[in-house]
């Protein structure tokens, strides 16, 4: 083969570069099929008001995942807490009452409201300590 070796080198490099484009297109990793999270997916929050009424003086507490625990002082019969949670899929709420008098039967009434509408009303029974979970409906 005749011609300048430099010219031959340029031609070979050029041909390789041209070939590289379709090869890269064919072999590059496929873009993720997972849909990108739209901006509207940013979660809407709502306030959930938890009202607790105990049948006798107790220390009352309400807890939900990713929320600070709300606690009363000892010896109260009423307690309220507000949790700011997803409007569509709120967390369930754990409620706890530690009664001063541990010998007698006791009850704890819990109401959860959102925007003035009652979502759940439940009464739990026990003696000494009453604890359970209030399940909140999801949309």
């Amino acid at each position: 083969m005749r011609g300048s070796p430099f010219l031959r080198l340029v031609l070979v490099v050029g041909a390789l570069a041209l070939l590289a484009v379709p090869v890269w297109r064919l072999t590059r990793p496929a873009p993720s099929s997972a849909p990108a999270r739209p901006e509207s997916a940013v979660e809407k929050l709502a306030d959930y008001r938890v009202t607790m009424k105990a049948s006798a003086p107790a220390r009352l507490q309400a807890m939900a995942a990713n929320q600070p625990t709300a606690s009363s002082v000892s010896g109260v019969e009423n307690f309220e807490a507000v949790f700011s949670m997803s409007a569509a899929e709120p967390e369930d709420i754990a409620v706890f009452a530690d009664f001063k008098d541990r010998t007698r039967s006791a009850a704890l009434r819990v109401t959860v409201e959102k925007g003035g509408e009652v979502l759940v009303e439940k009464t739990f029974w026990g003696s000494g300590v009453v604890e359970d979970v209030v399940m909140l409906p999801t949309k």
């Binding site: 997972a34 979970v133 999801t138």
Partner: protein, 308 residues
């Protein structure tokens, strides 16, 4: 007959009555033989029957019940029992073959799946042979819901009373105590699960055995296999699963006590999820997981700790 003769006659009569009474007591004292094809139901009947029952576990803890087949010796043991406990809903594919043996020997059959509300289970990727584990569309793993176990405990209690009416007081007392323990267990499970944010409630497991648990506590299940351990996932299914695990940002993947966790290991390596630990899906295990309460506490603690 003289007075002395009459006295001897009365003595003999008393002796015979005493003998009969003793024989009667002996019959009552003989424990009721209960054979069980379910490790969970074996635990329940031990709790309710206590010293009035002798429980023979045909399927033992740690055995894979999906591939279990009773031996001729097991058939004999079952035929010599008064009661046979089975999970039902297609879990024991050989149960229909056992029915003539039960009828012939007068063995009462209690099927747990008869008293629970079945949920649908996925069944894919395997062919059903005549003898091996075959499903209807119902998920047979009903014990993964504490409320289902409460129903089955009542069913077992009633069956024991029907077989052994003399033990009614014992059975009712023990069943009430078990009911209270199951009530506490259910509450304990709720109080543990509530700590998990709902978006984290995704369970990736070897096979689809936690459907009842998922329904009761709001989990989504992403199983590698179908509802049986004999289901084999296609490579496409494994690829899709890896995609969903990445998409959902699943924190942990769980292995099962009686399965080869190799495929799960491969999936873990290709995603950001960590191994979450071993859970008991098909029945009881050993040690702490050797009782129903222990098994549920082990599973729930493992799941909550890994997904928090």
């Amino acid at each position: 007959m003289s007075a002395g003769g009459e006295f001897v006659g009365v003595k003999i009569l008393f002796f015979l009555i005493a003998m009969l009474a003793c024989a009667g007591l002996e019959v009552v004292a003989q424990p009721i033989r209960v054979a069980s094809l379910s490790t969970v139901m074996a635990d329940l009947v031990r709790d309710i029957g206590a010293e009035r029952v002798e429980v023979i576990e045909i399927v033992k803890p740690g055995t894979d019940p999906h591939i279990f087949e009773p031996s001729p010796g097991d058939y004999k043991t079952i035929a010599n029992s008064r009661l046979l406990l089975a999970s039902g809903l297609g879990f024991e594919g050989y149960l229909d073959k056992l029915r003539p043996v039960l009828e012939k020997s007068g063995v009462r059959l209690v099927v747990g799946g008869d008293v629970v509300e079945p949920i649908e289970g996925a069944c894919e990727g395997h062919e059903h042979s005549e003898d091996h584990h075959h499903h209807g569309t119902a998920d047979p793993h009903w014990w993964q819901s504490v409320s289902n176990v409460q129903l089955v405990a009542r069913q077992i209690g009633n069956a024991l009373i029907a077989i052994d009416p003399a033990g009614r007081v014992t059975y009712e007392k023990n069943a009430a105590a078990l009911e209270a323990r199951l009530e506490d267990l259910g509450k304990w499970v709720r109080l543990q699960i509530v700590q998990l944010p709902k978006k984290n409630r995704v369970l990736v497991t070897s096979h689809d055995a936690l459907g009842y648990f998922a329904k009761e506590y709001g989990f989504e299940i992403l199983p590698v296999q179908g509802i049986s351990t004999s289901d084999q996932p296609s490579s496409q299914k494994v690829r899709d699963l890896i995609g969903r695990i990445r998409e959902r940002g699943v924190k942990a993947i769980f292995a099962e006590s009686i399965e080869n966790p190799k495929v799960l290991g491969q999936i873990t390596a290709e995603t950001c999820a960590k191994p979450g630990g071993v859970i008991y899906a098909d029945g009881l295990g050993s040690g702490d997981a050797g009782t129903y309460g222990g098994m549920m506490r082990h599973n729930v603690t493992t799941i909550v700790e890994a997904l928090k």
